[in-house]
Subunit: 205 residues, 2 copies
């Protein structure tokens, strides 16, 4: 279920890495919620006690492995956004909106769904929460940079309200919208909304 690095990353002789690779396999097969420590141990050819020695408990193992996945997803998101923006000489707001994920393909975006699962686990797993906070803070300057690129290349007459990136895009995953079927926001409506939103200007309210 994920596009994460597979077992080939594991050094056979390195037990923690073997456990991580086995946990990733378990997540891929059974989902985050389905991960079983006994199965992870068996696949990694070690005992449950050895897993707990390295990762404290099930939460510690999940925190380690899911932080790694979250870092990959987050890095992939920002780097592909910056690459797409860097390829544009003059950026109009419709250009910008054209690189956003659309509501119609949310359920096909495994990264987005996995990201929402990892964030949900972090609401109850404090070690994971701290790991994700470190990643989110370390990647934050890259989002500021992406906004700076947009402003620097903005087509004449356009305006760009970067608050839409930080308030809306980074906190939204549209899965709820996908539940609404014909009542949900469709791609055209989403596109039109985002164009208007990016063109807002902060008022002195």
């Amino acid at each position: 279920m994920t596009t994460a690095p597979s077992t080939e990353n594991a050094t056979p002789g390195n037990l923690p890495d073997r456990i991580r690779a086995s946990a990733l396999d378990d997540i891929r097969l059974y989902g985050i919620l389905g991960l079983r420590v006994t199965r992870v141990a068996k696949r990694a050819n070690c005992s449950v006690t050895q897993i707990y020695r390295h990762f404290d408990d099930r939460d510690g193992l999940l925190a380690d492995v899911l932080s790694g996945l979250f870092r990959e997803i987050t890095t992939r998101n920002i780097e592909s956004s910056i690459a797409a923006l860097s390829a544009m000489d003059s950026i109009t707001i419709p250009d910008l909106v054209s690189i956003l994920p659309m509501p119609s393909n949310i359920t096909k975006r495994e990264d987005t769904l996995l990201r929402s699962q990892i964030l949900a686990v972090a609401t109850v797993n404090h070690t994971l929460r701290d790991g994700l906070a470190d990643i989110a803070k370390s990647v934050w300057p890259r989002w500021v940079e992406a906004c700076d690129i947009i402003e620097a290349r903005l087509a004449p007459g356009e305006s760009f309200d970067r608050r839409v990136v930080f308030v809306v895009l980074l906190n939204s995953n549209l899965f709820y919208n996908s539940l609404l079927d014909e009542h949900g926001i469709n791609d055209d409506e989403y596109r039109a909304f985002m164009i208007d939103a990016f063109r807002m200007k902060p008022s002195a309210n």
Copy 2:
């Protein structure tokens, strides 16, 4: 961890209800991710086989119980919003924004965190996904009604863009924002953004 109805809802003689109540207790104690069917069976004074007879499997049990919780949270949200709006004679956009949850208290809002966990589980549990879709669709007209109330009572000179409700509010939970600490959107910034966003007007783009 939840404010859901407790075991008192269970009729002692009704096995499915006793299982549901036990599962809710397990979720309250160990989180959705921590639910163990063996523990649920023991507390409900039945066998795991009996649970599977009524709910098919662990996913079926989760789908049943989490749909119930989601329905409560969703109903509570919309009904308290409508009650707050109905108490206002003339609605300005700052009034409206004053009833929104703010970023600073996201991690204290158990309903919001639980909602995000339930939505995340639904990305991999298809029975639950279908249950949530039914609930989301059944409550959708109430959100339209809330928007109608706002428009009917809008203070002179104000404008209200209801797309903000459907595109932003219903799909956002701000947990990611809470990870960013001092880089995150603060309450004043969030309030200012929402005021501007609600005052947008759909353009013909």
